[in-house]
Amino acid sequence: MKMLVRLLTRIRNFAAGRSGDARLREEIEQHLAMQSEANVRGGMLPEEARRQARLKLGALEAARERYHAEEGLPIVENLLQDLRYACRQLRKSPGFATVAVLSLGLGIGANTAIFSLIDAVLLRDLPVESPKQLVLFGRGRWVGSVDEMPHKSWDLFSYPFFREFSSRNNVYSGIAAVDSIEFGTHASFDGGAMWLSRIDLVSGNFFDVLGVPAALGRTLTSEDDVAPGSGPVAVASYGWWVRHGRLPSVLGKTVRIESATYTIVGIARQGFFGTTVGQSPDFWIPLSMEKEISPGWNGVNDKDFQSLYLIARRKPGVSMVQASAATNALFRQIIRSEYLGASPSQKDLVSLSHAQIELTPAARGLSQLRLQIALPLEILMAVVMIVLLIACVNIANLLLARGVVRSREIAVRLALGASRSRVVAQLLTESALLAVAGAALGTALSWKAGALLLHLASGQAQPVPVDASPDLQVLLFTSLLTVCATMLFGLAPALGTTGGICVLSLQEGRGALSAPMRNRLGRTLVITQIALSLALLSGAGLFLHSLLRLTDVNTGFNARKVLVFGLDEYAAGYKQDARLAGLQQQIEDSVQALPGVRAAAFSMFTFNEGEWSDPVIVRGVPRDAENGHDVLYNVVGDEYFKTFGLPILAGRVFTPQDNQHAPLVAIINETMAKRFFPGASPIGHHFGIGNDPSHSGDIEIIGVAKDAKYTTLSEQPQLAAYFPWTQHLQYFSNFSVRYSGEPGPVISEVRNSIARINPRVMVSDVSTLAAQVRASIGNQQLIAQLSAFFSFAATLLVCIGIYGLMSHAVARRTREIGVRIALGADRINVQWMVLREILGLIGMGLLIGIPLALIGANLVVKLENPNLLSRVLYRTGPFDPASMIVALLLLIVVPSLAGLLPARRASRVDPIVALRDE
């Protein structure tokens, strides 16, 4: 209490700038007067009386200082004083200040940018009620639909299973379902133009389970999700609402999506982007409308149509283990009774015994983006941390060199009565000032960098809707980083310079300063820098080498001069029937006839767009371990092979005669031909999709196409088969065009041509096949480029460090060098003497760096998820001699060049001047 009252008074005095100096002066004056009077009364002469009074009062200034210290906040005052002093000091050496602030800015900025991404994608909880209670059934790795019963861990579930499970469970207070696919389709608001919109299909209780209220109107309810077609309502996202003028009157208005009309009943709370990080739907629509949104998705009553993610909220007090046990028990019961029938086969029972639901915490939502980008982000985080470390070490080194120069100043200050802690505080204030300036620069640099990096990494044309703006957590991180950096680079030099034993030079002259300790610290710092840089450079080399190998991969198809149009034929309003086929035929025909177009075809997939896969059963070829693998299927137009530049090695391509009335045909790839028909021609043979031998005669093989890459560049040769689109009617979204000449006119011609045929068919985006190939390795490219950039920055910092250390060493040894030269050492000798020292440092650094680099690379390899499609390292082991040699050479040559300048300066020392300097 006493303390508090006193503190408050002090703060008040400090804030008001109030000073009791005048009062003290008067008090002292009166004191002296009274004492003098007393002295005079005691018989002294007035002069002497005054003098004695003064003597009795003691050191007036000291008392005044103490008085002042009692009065205000001395800590804060000292700090302000230190800050002013630090500013002056830094202004006196602008070169040092610039280098320090720039390198810290780079380090802290890079860290903030990467961390804000990690925070947004990997760390942040969903903005829902008690997110820690949420669990996801499965791990959310798959997107789409599965119709078979997996015999492992389940990720996707059917609507009937969801209903059944929800009604019988007793460990969850609610279970919500959300379709694993975010639907992209065209929607017209209030009779306006059609816009590409993103739609999440969710169960009616979705918002209730998550605890997300409406910002306006209501959210969905269970009544919206009773029977197929029963809930033509939509909840719009806050972002969508803002884009549409933020008017309360949107409630009750309608949105037309495909062939159905939905009433907007509410707007979801601001900041809620759904449960998948990296997506941001415009509308949430009840699952009861699944068929209306996407006719192919008619799973509400189909227990074999498994396409939903299930997110459940644990009841309070139910642990993860209890929830998991209860979930799996009920899961087995339901599968047993609903799926396997009365007398399940032995095989099904074995299958069931392996099947399980792996519960994962869903507090942070689910995200394919996260799976895809977690390791790259972690690698980059490590890289930028190391860069910051190197920057700190560098500044520590420079400060140390400055400390030597300033040692006399500091010694004088200590001798004049400053306490060591006070001097250390002052030196640290200088460091903190540098760090804060660096942090400000870094934060400014990183402001938009996070979103940009994410955009680059995801390789998508549109920015990924992730909220990567710095939040409290990021600011905390940056502040912490700044404090750590200050301590890291400021404390050691500050303690070193003030030392328990203060070295005070009595003699003028540099030669007298012997400070082996300090020198050793500087050397250690440079060696550390070199070792860390080697790890960075060789790591960057590893990623670059892997990227080079990836870009070198032969895709099999010719990606040059191919445009890929995103079409939405569904908007034309046709069912999957002859009219749709007619429309597609018309589009193909008219585009193929355009000038500049050499070939054009619809296809289910182009490249890196996912897969439709199943094993095949081939007539006359028994199943074995080798040929039981999944085959990738694609449904393509007649001119697909010409468009993609895929040679047909045997047989023929599809023709219009391969229609619905003709026998089913397929073209298979080389690998499939070799696997099933080694040494023989597959033409004329038959196969069927799936495992049922009775279907093995379904499809006739009419051709063999050259192998290609289908889902990723890094994939192994895959079994693949193509079907003619005339025999597999469906909506495509890909329409590829091989052109000659300039792409510009071709794009507008194609757009016009499609608009003439049916203006309702939307052309949403145009990209190129080459861009799709590039985007598929966006991740690897990002890591390679950023790590290369940062490791070069680190090398530059090392050069600055070596230059600083050696210039200072040369300056210190001017006299010694002068003596050597006077005694007859030639200039080359002197240069070599300095260079030898540099090479020694580099050698030590590299020796330590090599194992460090190998450990780092091994860690990356170990952390990499082998199941992931796009891996960080492609056909590159942790030890890559080429990148290691390049890194070693770089680190020997470049820092040596940096050391050459001080070495030359040393050789130019004039012995007369050097000796006279003493």
């Binding site: 006193r6 008090e27 009166q30 009795k56 009062l57 103490r66 008085y67 034993i501």
Partner: protein
């Protein structure tokens, strides 16, 4: 308070001198505050000079040449609420700042006094102890 001892190191061969730093704690601060409180308690409102003179009379030469240190202590006590101060005429019609003990100050004095007596009693007992008493 930082006090500097004269250099105790010996000159190094290379012409440098080692200086060791030592800090001496200011042991009088608490004692001085207690004396101030007690003086005000006995004499009633008093100005700085009066307090100093009184302490000098009683304590002999504790304050010695440093009467000035009294003022920071008075300020501190005032900020703690133990004393209040105001300008007033001194005995020979000078303007002087008078300090008066508050109720909180009296409480503080009592507490400090108890503490001090306790400490003194314990220390006194230690000094009285002889070797045979502990046997």
């Amino acid at each position: 308070m930082v006090l500097w001892h004269s250099p105790v190191g010996k000159p190094n061969g290379d012409g440098t001198v080692l200086i060791r730093m030592k800090q001496k704690k200011d042991v009088q601060q608490g004692t001085l505050a207690l004396m101030v409180l007690k003086t005000l308690d006995v004499l009633g409102p008093q100005h700085g000079y009066g307090i100093a003179r009184r302490i000098e009379q009683i304590s002999g030469d504790v304050l010695g040449v440093n009467q000035g240190t009294l003022y920071p202590v008075l300020l501190r006590l005032e900020q703690e609420g133990a004393v209040v101060s105001g300008w007033g005429p001194s005995e020979n019609n000078r303007r002087a700042r008078f300090y008066r003990l508050t109720r909180a100050g009296r409480k503080l004095l009592d507490a400090e006094k108890r503490d001090w007596e306790q400490t003194a009693a314990i220390i006194a007992r230690f000094f009285e102890v002889k070797a045979e008493d502990l046997a």
